[in-house]
């Protein structure tokens, strides 16, 4: 009894040697990191102080030192008696520490920074001494937002994107049902349907921009079969004269957003389709058979037997579609840049446009838009996390 207690005591004792060695290494690393950053001594050592690639050697040196420092820190903590006694509670946090640290630095802190900028008027510049050049304006930016027609247009478009993008889910489902059969060459059809999801958003945007072009686009080609004829103009060149002008989809404020959403739906439908196709693979044939015995077919079979089993696929399809709708940035940037006159902006693009784009440099105002967007997304994200949490609880 006493022996084992002694043994336990020994096992949990702070190891002085480990702590000292690790502590010294850690101190040395921190000193080095500070030294290198503050004096650029290494930069001068390499004689690169003026060039862009000067950062490369110092970056690798700093990285190496930082890795050693992290290792030393872990070794340092694990040497202490309080750690040894509470290993089960502490170990997960040690493993998480690095990830949490990065998450803090690159996600959490910037969110709050951006919120704080939203209370300032700032053009994004620091002066020569690195002093921030903005000024505190309180809720001014938010007051401006309430009075900004472009903000309401963006908000309305965000909503349009969310609602119309949901079409991808049912359409994807029906294409999946249609393709879920065994015919020769079905794989080819499946991959053809999946194809739009493989190409980059930017390329999809370009293809649709060309197709919509009222001068030479595919759509205007069709149009000219019905309403246009080719004539010779004053210089003897061939030109097209239309009784009704072809629609300028991206050039008209009322149709432009719908045009972009239609382009975005093309790959999104393919994505939902592939989710449902894999879901359909897991539909239990027993239940289908049982349903058939009970006389279910057609819509009833789909609604009461197949769809409930596809619930996980539906959940993921809805989630990725909402995310897709919020990520409409690339499509807008390639197709209209928010135009004509800001009528296709969504909050994300408007924020970029006001802060970073073309040097407009209203960083405070852009941050205010970002904060509003963040609050809206927060509602959705909270619901999503809550749902996940509920599912986890059920699973346990």
């Amino acid at each position: 009894m006493e022996n084992s207690q002694l043994g336990n005591h020994y096992r949990f004792a702070t190891s002085a040697k480990q702590v000292t060695v690790a502590g010294l290494i850690l101190l040395a690393c921190l000193f080095l990191l500070y030294f290198v950053i503050s004096t650029s001594m290494v930069q001068d050592l390499f004689g690169y102080s003026q060039q862009i690639h000067a950062r490369v050697p110092t970056f690798f040196i700093r990285l190496a030192v930082a890795i050693v420092a992290i290792g030393a820190a872990l070794y340092f903590i694990t040497g202490f008696s309080f750690y040894k006694r509470n290993k089960i509670a502490w170990a997960p946090w040690l493993f998480l520490a690095l990830g949490l640290g990065l998450f803090m630095v690159y996600v959490i802190i910037p969110i709050f920074q951006s919120m704080s900028y939203s209370f300032t008027k700032w053009d994004g510049l620091y002066d020569i001494n690195g002093v921030w050049t903005g000024e505190w304006v309180g809720f001014h930016n938010y007051k401006l937002l309430l009075d900004d027609p472009n903000f309401y247009t963006s908000l309305k478009n965000n909503l349009l994107w969310l609602v119309l993008y949901m079409l991808a889910v049912p359409v994807g489902l029906f294409i999946a049902l249609f393709l879920n059969q065994t015919v020769t060459g079905i794989r080819i059809y499946k991959s053809l349907f999946f194809f739009p999801f493989v190409i980059s958003q930017v390329v999809v945007g370009l293809i649709f921009t060309w197709a919509y072009n009222p001068e030479f686009g595919l759509l205007s080609e069709f149009w000219s079969w019905f309403f246009c004829e080719t004539k010779e103009n004053i210089m003897g060149n061939l030109t097209r004269v239309c009784s009704v002008e072809p629609p300028s989809i991206l050039g008209n404020e009322h149709s432009a957003t719908y045009g972009i959403i239609a382009a975005g739906l093309w790959p999104q439908i393919a994505y939902c389709m592939i989710l449902y196709l894999t879901g359909l693979n897991n539909v239990s044939p027993d239940q289908i058979e049982a349903g058939q015995l009970d006389g279910a077919k057609g819509w009833k079979m789909l609604w009461y037997v197949v769809l409930p089993q596809l619930k996980p696929a539906t959940f993921i399809a809805v989630v990725v579609t909402v995310i897709g709708a919020l990520r409409s940035f690339d499509m807008i940037a390639t197709m209209t840049q928010g135009g004509p006159y800001g009528s296709t902006n969504v909050l994300a693009y408007y924020m970029y446009d006001q802060a970073v784009g073309e040097g407009v440099g209203r960083y405070g105002y852009g941050s205010a838009i970002a904060t509003v967007l963040f609050l809206i997304m927060l509602v959705y994200i909270s619901y999503f996390l809550w749902q996940m949490y509920q599912d986890e609880k059920e699973a346990h």
Binding site: S49, Q50, Q51, I52, R55, D123, G124, L125, Y126, D127, I128, G130, T133, L144, D147, D148, P149, Y212, N213, P214, E215, N233, I234, M235, G236, N237, T239, E245, S248, L250, G251, N252, E253, T336, Q337, G339, P340, Y341, G342, D353, Q354, V356, E358, G359, V360, G361, R362
Partner: protein, 414 residues
């Protein structure tokens, strides 16, 4: 994206050998340029080469990148890894960087350099802010109306000198089935060119400056007059109908095909007309016609310039380079190569290029030179303003709503 044109290695060898013999001390110069168009790139590189020949003791590192990307990377460059010389736009566009103290005051160079102090008087105000000079221009170009001379001849009309002549030309062109003007407003700034000219001709240079400096409201009666002229222009001189989906390059195709006869543009577009198959005989240039009789004629003449970042490490070399860029020889060679005009009054122009000759004549006789709406106005104002112009072109009835919104933006920006 950065296209590095690097003479460092060779120069290092030279520097090393000179160190060994102990005759000269090598120093460095880092230049950032922002044009990858073949002719512009070549002109820049030849200038750098000439500079290295003239100053063999200076090791030049020349970086060249995409122009649009440069507009956002310059912020980082000025605050962190500053080169010694960097390109940027004069006028209000340099304002934020000057105000934040990121550009170096080079008034001493302007006053001490014989050539800069005597040959750049026309453009000096553009390079000046707070009574000091901040950069040295290497090139500028004229704006005006480019037109199809062959169509004009066929319809039997001639270059208009007044607003009424322009309108009646438009009537004749429409009669003949030709759309008078082409334009592509997808990227907005082309519409600002039309607005600027209407405003300069209706109200003059002072009003242009006061408007872009935020001293006049957009709902001001004078600005409304400008828009009234524009509405008249939209009505009688229609523009190609699909302009909102076209870039300025796209808009050349109806012009080249003979469906449209005129284009309000800058001289950089001439190369593109020729690429589209038009010859010097088919196209010509006239100054935007007079609207208010007797008003002194001001012109748009955007300039490109070099600046020294406040964080530059080799300031002496940078000043040597700016003085070199300003020299008569460099200005002549550079602008001949890129088909633009030298800001140096003593520099020679390419007499064989009729557009350059006409441009020189247009600008040298102008009473004032405007930079361009989106360079004279702060970027945030320019963005909103140009969106308003585009909206107006598509829907003139929304004028009141547009102008009131612009007043709101103006109150916020200045």
């Amino acid at each position: 994206m950065l296209n590095r044109f690097n003479l460092r290695k060779i120069a290092q060898c030279v520097a090393l050998s000179s160190l060994v013999s102990g005759t000269a001390v090598a120093s460095e110069l880092v230049i950032t340029f922002d044009d990858l168009n073949p002719d512009k790139k070549l002109a820049f590189e030849s200038a750098v080469e000439a500079f290295t020949r003239a100053h063999p003791d200076i090791t030049v590192t020349a970086n060249n990148g995409d122009r649009e990307a440069h507009k956002s990377t310059i912020r980082n460059a000025l605050q962190n890894d500053a080169p010694d010389v960097i390109t940027w736009y004069p006028g209000n566009r340099m304002g934020p960087f000057v105000d934040a103290g990121l550009f170096m005051d080079i008034s001493d160079l302007w006053s001490s350099d014989e050539n800069l102090s005597s040959n750049f008087n026309a453009i000096k105000p553009t390079m000046t802010r707070d009574g000091k000079q901040w950069g040295v221009p290497y090139s500028y170009y004229q704006w005006g109306v480019y037109y199809r001379k062959d169509i004009y001849d066929k319809v039997g009309i001639s270059e208009p000198k007044t607003w009424d002549e322009l309108l009646s030309n438009c009537d004749a062109l429409k009669e003949a089935g030709v759309t008078p003007f082409t334009i592509g407003t997808k990227f907005l700034w082309t519409a600002a060119g039309v607005f600027d000219y209407l405003n300069l001709r209706t109200n003059g240079y002072e009003v242009h400056n006061d408007l872009t400096a935020g001293k006049i409201k957009y709902t001001d009666e004078r600005i409304r007059n400008t828009f009234a002229k524009w509405e008249e222009m939209l009505d009688r001189c229609s523009f190609v109908s699909t302009h909102a989906t076209m870039s300025w390059q796209d808009a050349i195709s109806p012009f080249a095909n003979g469906d449209a006869a005129m284009y309000v543009m800058g001289n950089f577009s001439v190369g593109q007309y020729k690429e589209a198959g038009l010859t010097d005989d088919q196209i010509d240039f006239f100054q935007f016609p007079e609207i208010t009789p007797g008003l002194p004629r001001a012109e748009e003449a955007p300039a490109d310039a070099f600046f020294i970042p406040a964080k530059a490490k080799n300031v002496e070399n940078a000043k040597k380079f700016l003085a070199f860029v300003a020299s008569v020889g460099t200005q002549t060679a550079w602008n001949k190569a890129i088909g633009q005009l030298p800001p140096n009054a003593k520099a020679l122009i390419n007499e064989d290029d009729k557009f350059i000759v006409k441009g020189m004549e247009t600008l040298s006789t102008a009473s004032g030179l405007a930079q361009f709406y989106d360079r004279d106005a702060p970027a945030a104002m320019a963005k909103a303003g140009m969106e308003g112009f585009q909206k107006f072109m598509l829907d003139p009835s929304a004028l009141d709503e547009i102008l009131e919104n612009l007043d709101k933006v103006q109150a916020e920006v200045y």
